[in-house]
Each structure stands twice: as structure tokens, then as C-alpha cells.
């Protein structure tokens, strides 16, 4: 037995099933998708090789460009508006003395709900006739807004819902980092006469920068792959106003039965996400030094 375990090939055999499964369910589909991206496969019949035609069409496709733009809007919204809000909320909650657990649980709650539930829930809130939001707005004298039916309002409506769903999760992440900072640092600053905002800005925020970086990274990744909330709430409508890259891809592949083109789009999305996260890593994240307490 002992001699068996000394043989490296035996270990290889033990790993083989996992590798085989990994190959079967990850590597193989990846490679075939890559191939399908260069064909005009409709999901059913024979497929012909069409070279880079799908990719060329994708960049000529005004609707796809519009969906890229929507992804970028979501990305900017989450990085420039959501992340600062998350930090502010975390700082506020970390300063709460009583019922901190209650606040933590409350803000975290939406992120454990399924996206479909949230989409339908907010669909009711946004309902122009009976929805909470419009009723409130109307009582204040504002005109009815057809949130999900208006091409100008649909994307903001989805942004708000998406933020509501995910902010709690990030708040808990950042809160954990804030609470992990040793009390002594804060107390020392307090003795030196630093005010609350000063301590938050000059002490806490720099100390939690690594976790903020993680949150930004996750936000970028999240903004690029957001699709479920869009499909549940608007299906990319009205008239493509809320289409993101992934929902557009799903639509093209399945509704249009254009799997070749759809796969090409998914490769573009993959490349796009890779480049953006790499850029962020190179430009910002790498410069950070590890914080040692």
C-alpha cells in the first residue's frame, strides 16, 4: 500500500475524475462555444463556418452597441454612486451603538431573496396604477411615471432595484472590515481631537481600502454580468431600452434561434469583462499596499 501511495501516477488517477468532469462541463463547452461563435448555427441544423462575420456584425449592430452602453451605465452607477453610498451606510451602521444587529440583518435581507422575487416585487412598486411609488408621487402632485414602460425611466428603475438588492451584501462586507479595525486607533485619534467625519475619512476609509477594492471589483464584475433582473423586470424592453449585453445575447441566441451569433456575442462579453477587470487590476488595485494593523 505504501509503495502505491509513493507512485505519483496514483495521485494523478485520483485527480482524474475531477479533471474529467471539469473538462466535460467547463473546458469542452468553452472550446465548442468558441467554435460556434464562428458559425451560423441556428441550434438545430448544420452549421457553416462564417469566419469573423458574427463579430463584425456585432460591432455594426446598433442595438448591441446600445446594450454595451447600458452595461457601462450600470457599471458607472455601481462604482460612482453605489460604492460611495455603501461606504457611507457602513460607516453609519458601524457607529450605531444600539440594535446594530438589526440594521445589519435588515440591509442584508434583500441579497438573500431570489432575483425573480425582487423583480416581481419591484414590478408592483413601480406599477403606474396601484404601485406604492406612483401613488406616493401622485399624492405629492407629480405626474404618473410609467417606470418600466417608459424608455427613459426603465433603466433607472432597474438600477435602483439592482442597487437595493446588492447594496446590503456589500455593506456587510465593508462593515466587517470596519469592525475589524482595532479600537485603539480610533480612540487615539479621538484623544487627539479628530472629529467623527475626520476619523471616518482619514482613518477608517484608508484602513478598509483593500476591501473597498474588492467591492469595486465585484461591482464591475456584477455590472458586466447583470442579466437576471433585466430579464425578470423588462425582458430588455421597452424597445430595447434596458437591454444589457447578456440579455441581448440570450434574446439573439434563443428567440432569434441564432446560436452562432449569440455565441459570438458571449465571447465578446467574456473578452470585455476580462479586459475591464484586468485594467482595473493594473491601474488601481496593484498599487495598493497591504494594510497591517
Amino acid at each position: 500500500m505504501r509503495s502505491t501511495l509513493k507512485n505519483p501516477y496514483v495521485y494523478l488517477l485520483f485527480v482524474l475524475p475531477t479533471i474529467a468532469l471539469y473538462f466535460l462541463f467547463f473546458i469542452y463547452p468553452m472550446l465548442t462555444s468558441f467554435y460556434y461563435g464562428f458559425t451560423n448555427w441556428n441550434g438545430l441544423d448544420t452549421k457553416d463556418y462564417v469566419g469573423f462575420a458574427n463579430f463584425a456584425n456585432a460591432f455594426k449592430d446598433a442595438d448591441f452597441r446600445h446594450s454595451i452602453l447600458n452595461n457601462l451605465i450600470i457599471l458607472l452607477f455601481s462604482c460612482c454612486i453605489q460604492v460611495p453610498l455603501i461606504i457611507v451606510c457602513s460607516l453609519l451602521i458601524s457607529g450605531v451603538k444600539r440594535l446594530q444587529g438589526f440594521y445589519k440583518t435588515t440591509v442584508f435581507m434583500p441579497s438573500i431573496l431570489s432575483t425573480s422575487v425582487i423583480g416581481i416585487l419591484w414590478g408592483f412598486i413601480y406599477d403606474p396604477d396601484v404601485g406604492l411609488l406612483d401613488k406616493t408621487l401622485r399624492s405629492l402632485g407629480a405626474p404618473t411615471i410609467y417606470w418600466l414602460a417608459d424608455t427613459n425611466w426603465a433603466l433607472p428603475a432597474i438600477l435602483i432595484t439592482n442597487a437595493w438588492q446588492w447594496m446590503g451584501f456589500y455593506i456587510v462586507l465593508i462593515l466587517a472590515a470596519i469592525l475589524a479595525i482595532p479600537r485603539e486607533i480610533d480612540e487615539a485619534a479621538r484623544i487627539d481631537g479628530a472629529t467623527g467625519p475626520q476619523r471616518a475619512w482619514y482613518l477608517t476609509v484608508p484602513l478598509i481600502k483593500p476591501i473597498i477594492n474588492v467591492v469595486i471589483m465585484l461591482s464591475i464584475a456584477g455590472a458586466l454580468r447583470v442579466v437576471d433582473i433585466v430579464l425578470v423586470m423588462t425582458g430588455g424592453g421597452p424597445a430595447g431600452a434596458t437591454d444589457v449585453m447578456a440579455s441581448y445575447m440570450v434574446n439573439k441566441a434563443i428567440k432569434y434561434s441564432d446560436y452562432g451569433y449569440g455565441t459570438a456575442l458571449s465571447i465578446i462579453i467574456f473578452a470585455f469583462a476580462l479586459v475591464l477587470t484586468a485594467l482595473y487590476q493594473i491601474l488601481f488595485a496593484r498599487r495598493q499596499e497591504r494594510v497591517e494593523f
Binding site: M1, S3, T4, N7, V10, L13, F14, L16, P17, A20, L21, L24, N40, G43, L44, D45, D63, P128, T144, Y146, W147, L148, A149, D150, T151, G235, G237, P238, A239, G240, A241, I254, K255, Y256, S257, D258, Y259
Partner: protein, 478 residues
């Protein structure tokens, strides 16, 4: 060394089990003599004796109690209150078929119509695992496409065997490829205007049977803050119904069937004129605000609630206005007319749209037992009795030849009006959704929503759809 070999063998055995479990059931199609339990996980769960030797021939001769249990998946779209009459018919057929075929249990899977048609079924067809029995539409985008890819069962021999071949009206064409039948329409319908007679009486309006009356009614309703037409434009196939009829009337009744042959063009002036009319009506405010957020069900809700005076819908909706149905609030206050003659329309202005587009198709991947179940299902579903029940209970026009006495049993006033509309029609034309390829059809939906949202002009809409049509026609010619 021996131990090494032994451990290696053990590991590879484990591995092969894994791989076998992951393997596809590719030989299921011709594996008629294989036990259904070997490839059908669901079937083996239910089977009391999963031994492969007790396969079909043995159970055939045995008494029914000993028959091997098996399940057959059945996808239907009869969900929600508005479809309850159709669901009741399906349930009865299911029950009857289960009692006739020993061991059979249907697994009913209800999915919303457009989700099934445009998302779920296409994905299942691509993956090669459609339900054994499925709700399906006729035409190049649905049945014919799947049949050409070998996914659907050729029903021609079954129709011969059951003697159903000549029972159908001349409606099997959209379900056929090269003379072979791959799907069976369950019934027919025509799309036209439902209007609320109470509201029309309140504002002293004539029934919308002439163009002037229709426009006058719409303008009057608009003035009185009643939406002239209820809408469900979030589901783009809903406004597409009106587009289809407008094209038939303005550009001519042969236009819709000419798109795939190249005889008619989406960007021709006449077809664009049909889209222009939609754009004009949008501009005049004939539809409720926020219509792009309203789904098909909302259209009925608004109409029943009296928020709209008219709605353009399929005649199948007539069953919603029965006394015990979802629209019972306005039961007896609803009438149905075809779209009135359009001034300067090139088509026959008495022509109406008639669809025999929806029915059932069957997977080509069936074993012997499942085939028996499918045959029994067809026999029970496509019978004079069920066709008549469909007409009387659900207001769905029969797709099979029914005697005049049977049809005379119709008492529902709206269904009678529907029958009158079809009787008085000079000619009929199909909906383009059962004619054009799926890419083209989806493009019509995309472009129509853009038109409604004011993001595209009628000419741009026509050009975009024609571009998709040209590409598909070129691909088909190859």
C-alpha cells in the same frame, strides 16, 4: 504491483461510472426494444420492477396491473384562469388516455404561451430534449423548422392508422414538410375587434363596422378619457395581430404569404402604410399610456374593467366573457366584429385573418410505450367530441370537419358572431407568424416595439424586417 493495478482499476471503474452517468441517451430514438427505464430516469422511479427483461412485449400480453409504469411529458400552455376551459378539455383527454394505456402517467408541464414558444421550446429543441408531447405552432419558424431538423414525429402513418387523414379541414399545410404531417392544429381563430356594448351605448356610438364609425368611436372614447383600445404591447405578438390584419387589408390578402417567396416586401409602400397606421394611432393616443409595460393578460383586465372600449384580439378570447369566466363582469356586454373595410385598401376588404396555427407536436424520440401513449392521445384529443367541446366551451373554431348540426349547437353570442365573421368573409389570409421564419418574426416584434416607443419610423421598421427576410430567404434558397 498487483495493488497498483488493482487501485488503478478501481479508480478507472469509478471514472467510467461517472462518465456513463453523464453520457447522453442518444440511442433512445431507435432503441425501441430497450427498456424505457434505462434511459428515462423518471420512468425508472415509477417502475416497480425495473428489470430490463420485463420490457414492452411481455407487459403487452400481461394484465394491465402488471404493466410497466412509464411517464410521458406533456407541455401545454393552458395556464391561468382565462384558459380554464381549454385546460379542462386537456385534463379529460389526459385522464381518458391514461385509463386506456396501461402504466401510462402524463407529466403535465404548463408554461406561458410566448415563453414556451419563443424561449423554452427553442432551447429544448436545440438541446435535443423537447417534451414528448408539446404545444406547438405551425409554420416555418416553428413546426417546419423543427421537423426539418428531425426533432418531430412524422404523424402521417398515425393519421392513416387512426383514420384521421381526411377528417381535418385544409389546415395541415403549416404543419407539413414534403407532404408529411408533423403537428396537428387544435382549432382555429380569427383576429378582430371586441367592443364593450355598454360603453358604446353610453357614448351613443355605432358598432365599429365601418371605418368612419371605428374612428369616430375611438375619437369619442379618447375625448372621454376611456382608452379606445386596450393594449398588451409588452408582449409584442399582441399588437402584431393588428399589424397582420392591416397588412392583409391594405397591401392585399396574399401579401403575408408572399414574404417568404419574395413576392411581397416588408418595405414596400403598402406594408409600410400598415405600419404608418399603427404609428398614427399611437400618435392619436388610441392606446393607453404605458402600454409597453402591459402584458397580454393586462389587456383583458383593462377591457373587463371598462378602462378601454375596444380591444383587438383573437377570437379565442370569447370564452373569457362567459358567466363563469375571468371576464364575467362584462358578460353579455361584449360583441365581436372583424376590422371594418379600410378606405383605399388594396386587399379584399371582406377578407379576414384565419389561423389554424396552434396545436400539438410530438417528439421524434419515442420508445414503443411512449408511441402508444401518443397514438392514444391523438385519438382522444382529435375527436369530434373534443372538437365540439372546444367550440362550445372554449369558443375555439374546430380544425376538423364537424357536422352542421354540431356547429348549430353554439349558443354563446360572441362565438356566434365569430362564426358569422368567418362565414361572411370573402376570403381568409394567415397570420404571418405561421408563415415567416423565426428570425424574421422576432424582428417584426422587435421593430414593432420600437415603432410604438417612437424609436423608429414605419419605413425604418419595414427596411429592418425586410433585411432579416432577405437574409433568411437567401439562406433558404441555398
Amino acid at each position: 504491483m498487483k495493488k497498483k493495478v488493482a487501485s488503478a482499476m478501481a479508480v478507472s471503474a469509478a471514472l467510467s461510472v461517472f462518465l456513463a452517468a453523464c453520457g447522453s441517451n442518444g440511442d433512445n430514438g431507435n432503441g425501441a426494444n430497450a427498456s424505457p427505464s434505462s434511459s428515462q430516469p423518471a420512468a425508472s422511479d415509477a417502475s416497480p420492477s425495473p428489470s430490463p427483461s420485463a420490457s414492452a412485449p411481455a407487459s403487452e400480453s400481461a394484465s394491465p396491473e402488471k404493466a410497466e409504469n412509464f411517464t410521458v411529458s406533456l407541455r401545454h400552455i393552458q395556464i391561468g384562469d382565462a384558459q380554464k376551459f381549454r385546460k379542462a378539455i386537456l385534463d379529460d383527454v389526459v385522464k381518458k388516455t391514461e385509463s386506456e394505456v396501461p402504466g401510462l402517467k402524463f407529466e403535465l408541464d404548463g408554461v406561458e404561451d410566448s415563453v414556451n414558444r419563443f424561449t423554452k421550446l427553442p432551447a429544448e429543441m436545440a438541446a435535443g430534449n423537447p417534451p414528448k408531447i408539446m404545444d406547438i405552432f405551425g409554420g416555418a419558424g416553428d413546426t417546419q423548422k423543427y421537423a426539418k431538423a428531425g426533432r418531430l414525429l412524422d404523424l402521417t402513418p398515425i393519421l392513416d392508422e387512426l383514420g384521421l387523414k381526411d377528417k381535418f379541414l385544409n389546415v395541415l399545410e403549416p404543419f407539413s414538410v414534403d407532404g408529411k404531417v408533423y403537428g396537428l392544429p387544435i382549432g382555429g381563430n380569427t383576429e378582430g375587434i371586441f367592443y364593450n356594448t355598454d360603453i358604446f351605448a353610453k357614448y351613443n356610438l355605432n358598432p365599429p363596422t365601418t371605418w368612419d364609425d371605428l374612428i369616430k368611436a375611438a375619437d369619442t372614447l379618447k375625448k372621454n378619457n376611456v382608452a379606445p383600445f386596450a393594449a398588451g404591447s409588452k408582449d409584442a405578438w399582441v399588437p402584431n395581430m393588428l399589424v397582420n390584419t392591416l397588412i392583409g387589408r391594405i397591401a392585399g390578402e396574399n401579401t403575408n404569404s408572399g414574404f417568404i417567396t419574395g413576392q411581397s416586401k416588408w418595405n414596400s409602400p403598402d406594408v409600410v402604410a400598415a405600419y404608418q397606421m399603427i404609428a398614427d394611432w399611437e400618435k392619436k393616443g388610441y392606446y393607453p399610456k404605458g402600454e409597453l409595460g402591459k402584458a397580454y393578460a393586462d389587456m383583458l383586465t383593462d377591457f373587463v374593467a371598462g378602462k378601454a372600449g375596444m380591444m383587438f384580439d383573437g377570437s379565442w378570447r370569447s370564452s373569457a366573457f362567459k358567466d363563469d369566466a375571468v371576464g364575467k363582469d362584462i358578460s353579455g356586454k361584449v360583441a365581436f366584429v372583424s376590422l371594418p373595410p379600410i378606405p383605399n385598401g388594396k386587399g379584399n376588404q371582406t377578407s379576414v385573418n384565419a389561423n389554424y396555427g396552434e396545436g400539438y407536436g410530438f417528439s421524434s424520440d419515442l420508445n414503443e410505450n411512449e408511441l402508444k401513449a401518443v397514438k392514444a392521445f391523438i385519438k382522444n384529443m382529435y375527436s369530434d367530441e373534443m372538437q365540439l367541446r372546444g367550440l362550445l366551451e372554449d369558443g375555439v373554431l374546430p380544425s376538423m370537419k364537424l357536422s352542421d348540426e354540431s356547429i348549430a349547437q353554439v349558443t354563446d353570442p360572441v362565438v356566434k358572431q365569430v362564426l358569422d365573421v368567418l362565414k361572411n368573409a370573402g376570403t381568409t389570409f394567415p397570420h404571418f407568424d405561421s408563415v415567416v421564419q423565426s428570425k424574421v418574426y422576432t424582428e417584426t416584434e422587435t421593430q414593432l416595439t420600437k415603432l410604438i416607443a417612437g424609436k423608429a419610423t414605419p419605413q425604418e421598421v419595414g427596411n429592418a424586417i425586410q433585411k432579416a427576410q432577405d437574409a433568411e430567404n437567401a439562406a433558404a434558397a441555398k
